[in-house]
Amino acid sequence: MAIPWRDDADRALGEAKDSGKPLLLDFTAAPM
């Protein structure tokens, strides 16, 4: 299953807070 990557840090932080889930931030130089 593809990962639904977010690209807005503040929105992802808000989503994590609302859901109680931890946040995974992936910083990459690979082609996206």
């Binding site: 990557w5 994590a16 807070k17 109680g20 946040l23 995974l24 910083f27 990459t28």
Partner: protein, 146 residues
């Protein structure tokens, strides 16, 4: 997508995932102090960093590090039983990874924090006599022996 489907599944189940490219999101790299790629940060739901993975890792080691981050997030949230189970899962399912000795150490700490029973620490020190005895984590646990 990561090369190992176990990684995709675990991320989907366990985290809110966000990805930033070094060229298109340099501000995100600066904000979170990511100076190199690949870097993975695991933040708790309040946004506090709980685990950092810098550089490439083979599949099993990478998966174990993700589990370690999730376990540390549970630990710092005071969910010690849950944290212990997650640390123990690393030792059980990914025993040959570099994360496993660290997980064995923190499993003992989490069991102690959950029970306030020092026997959990002694049992951990004993476990290091059986496995991972050459690790830094065995040295840290050695104070609990005797």
């Amino acid at each position: 997508m990561y090369p190992d489907p176990r990684v995709d599944s675990f991320i989907n189940e366990s985290f809110i995932p966000a990805r930033f490219h070094v060229k298109t999101h340099p501000e995100a790299m600066a904000r979170f102090g990511a100076d190199w790629t690949p870097t993975i940060l695991i933040l708790d739901s309040e946004g506090h960093e709980r685990h950092r993975i810098e550089g490439f890792l083979p599949n099993d080691d990478f998966l174990a590090q993700l589990h370690l981050g999730l376990a540390h997030a549970a630990f710092t949230a005071g969910k010690f039983e849950q944290a212990a189970e997650r640390f123990e899962k690393i030792v059980r399912d990914l025993p040959a990874t570099d994360a496993a000795p660290e997980a064995q150490y923190w499993a003992g700490v989490a069991r102690y924090k959950a029970s306030n029973d020092g026997a959990a620490l002694k049992a951990t020190a004993d476990a290091f006599r059986e496995r991972y005895g050459d690790s830094t984590w065995a040295k840290k646990a050695s104070i609990w022996a005797s």
